[in-house]
């Protein structure tokens, strides 16, 4: 197993599309992947989580019970899933909406203010891909270029005009993660 990523948030934040995009890109790289969504009956605002397992061998259980990476898109997701992360795992918190601090000291925490950054970029819809860009930079699981190619497959054709903005969001997220790494090393 290379990574077990759990992406948690609420409906409308793009958690499921982020998971599908990541899975699709890793498949392009020849990895074994599994994507498993969990969501409530609400169209918007309900729980919307997914697990993505990326492996170099056949995947037994596709359930992400012990994530190596947790993406917490809001406070309640961090609260609920923080304890599940493996020791020395990674927590990427959407600091625009996550108000609570991570209580564990045996995980790496990287805050990314995705909503503010997305608004500054002129499109609040790309917040999820700013977070994904950070994940790609921090884990190196697959390149931004491959994810950009996957956008063509994952997004319905009517949204293909939005691909450049989403690629910029991925790059912005990666840059924010790089800056965080520099701060970590100081």
């Amino acid at each position: 197993m290379i990574e077990a990523v759990y992406i948690a948030g609420h409906g409308g934040q793009g958690t499921l599309s982020t998971g599908q995009l990541l899975a699709n890109a890793c498949l392009k790289e020849g990895k074994f992947v599994a994507y498993l969504p969990f969501y409530g009956v609400e169209k918007r605002g309900g729980v919307s989580n997914c697990g993505v397992t990326i492996s170099d061998q056949r995947i037994s259980s596709p359930f992400v019970a012990e994530p190596t990476v947790l993406i917490a898109m809001n406070s309640i997701s961090l609260e609920k899933y923080e304890s599940a992360v493996v020791p020395d795992g990674l927590v990427i918190a959407n600091s625009s909406l996550v108000e609570n601090a991570v209580t564990r000291d045996d995980v790496r925490v990287v805050p990314i203010p995705a909503n503010e950054e997305a608004e500054q970029m002129g499109d609040p819809m790309v917040a999820n891909n700013i977070i994904l860009g950070a994940l790609l930079e921090l884990t190196g699981v697959v390149s931004i270029q491959i994810v950009a190619e996957s956008l063509k497959e994952v997004l319905p054709e009517r949204h293909h005009g939005k691909i450049p903005a989403n690629v910029r969001a991925l790059e912005r997220g990666a840059e924010l993660a790089r800056r965080h790494k520099i701060r970590e090393n100081k």
């Binding site: 498949l27 992947v33 994507y35 498993l36 969504p37 037994s60 259980s61 596709p62 359930f63």
Partner: protein
């Protein structure tokens, strides 16, 4: 051919199309709505017909009509919708009509919820409708297998003139995994000389009927069905095994739960516990033959199911008292955690379970 990422529901739909199914009658219900969605678009592309019926009762009877005319036809639903179809399933069995019904199981009883479950095992494997009958029941555990099993389902339905149910828990419908669609599709649908295609197409009258008012005639049909079910039971039991070599604690699980159990078995083996897994691929006929052969080498069995313990009864019948059979289940749409399954295995290993 390179692999593409597909949802389980889409894979079932594509598998059906590739198996030559050209007719779908159904009614959307979460967690199988993506399947109806997929076929609504896909069937017209291949000259087929997708029809959203007014209810599940109507759907299953439309399936009856199309099957009587010799078509490869299917429907799909989840929990409450499948319950509404039970009368129709009994009629399909009684009239010996080949057809495929897909159940993406959700939490119940009642309206329940849309979360994954395996609580319709009894209904499928023991017959939820009235009368003495069996459906062939197939339980895939990967998205690839959800695609591949559809061809098998239609072939078995035609071979035995019998309804076949493909059953998975709801989350498998929405799970995405890489799928190899394979090469050219060549479907051989056997001739159906019994089908009601009109006197221009067959000599003499073809009648499709399950109403036999004279008990002697009904018994004759029952005996004919019984003979067929015996043949299916002898020839069509299928199961998979995983790390069964030298195993003294044997897990039995189907569908997605079997994948969780594979992880648990891997972890147990890494701790030096000799655990293994048997995965029934056919829930009816249940692979009692294979499981029975393992009974003398097994210290204890553990069935892991998303229900209160349904398949455990069939495991017990197969083991026939030669080893204890335990159950671990999560209910209501909850999914067993691999760590909890491992804890159960450790309990059996360390405790005095078994002989």
């Amino acid at each position: 051919m390179s692999k593409i990422l597909m949802k389980g529901n889409e894979a079932i739909g594509e598998g059906a199309v590739r198996a030559g199914c050209r007719y779908f009658f159904g009614y959307p219900i979460t967690p199988q709505s993506e399947l109806t969605h997929y076929l609504a678009k896909r069937l017209p592309e291949v000259g087929g017909l997708f029809l959203q019926a007014e209810s599940e009762v109507a759907s299953i009877n439309m399936v009856y009509g199309a099957a009587a005319a010799g078509a490869r036809v299917m429907t799909s639903s989840s929990g409450p919708g499948i319950s509404l179809m039970q009368e129709g399933l009994s009629f399909l069995a009684g009239s010996e009509l080949p057809s495929v019904v897909v159940n993406l199981m959700r939490g119940g009883p009642g309206l329940g919820n849309i979360a994954p479950s395996q609580s319709d095992y009894f209904q499928a494997a023991k017959g939820g409708g009235h009368g003495d009958y069996h459906m062939i029941v197939l339980a895939p555990n990967t998205v690839q297998e959800m695609l591949d099993t559809m061809g098998n389902a239609f072939d078995l339905a035609d071979k035995y003139r019998n309804p076949v149910m493909v059953m998975a828990d709801g989350v498998m419908g929405q799970m995405m995994e890489p799928v190899d669609l394979g090469g050219d599709v060549r479907v051989e649908i056997p001739p159906k000389s019994w089908a009601t295609t009109g006197m221009a197409h067959h000599a003499g009258k073809n009648v499709i009927n399950s109403c036999l008012v004279i008990p002697e005639e009904m018994e004759e049909l029952n005996l004919k069905l019984e003979k067929k079910y015996k043949e299916i039971s002898q020839k069509e039991q299928v199961c998979d095994e995983y790390m069964l070599e030298g195993a003294d604690i044997v897990l039995v699980a189907f569908g997605l739960v079997s994948r969780i159990c594979m992880s648990a078995v891997e972890k147990a083996r890494a701790m030096g516990i000799k655990a293994g897994l048997i995965r029934p691929v056919t829930l009816w006929p249940f692979p009692a033959g294979f499981i029975g052969k393992t009974a003398d080498k097994t210290r204890a069995y553990l069935t892991v199911e998303m229900n209160m313990g349904q398949m455990i009864e069939d495991v017990k019948l197969a083991v026939c008292g030669r080893a204890p059979v335990y159950h671990y289940g999560r209910l209501g749409g909850m999914v067993p955690d691999v760590r909890d399954v491992l804890a159960e295995i450790k309990n059996l290993h360390e405790g005095d379970a078994g002989r």
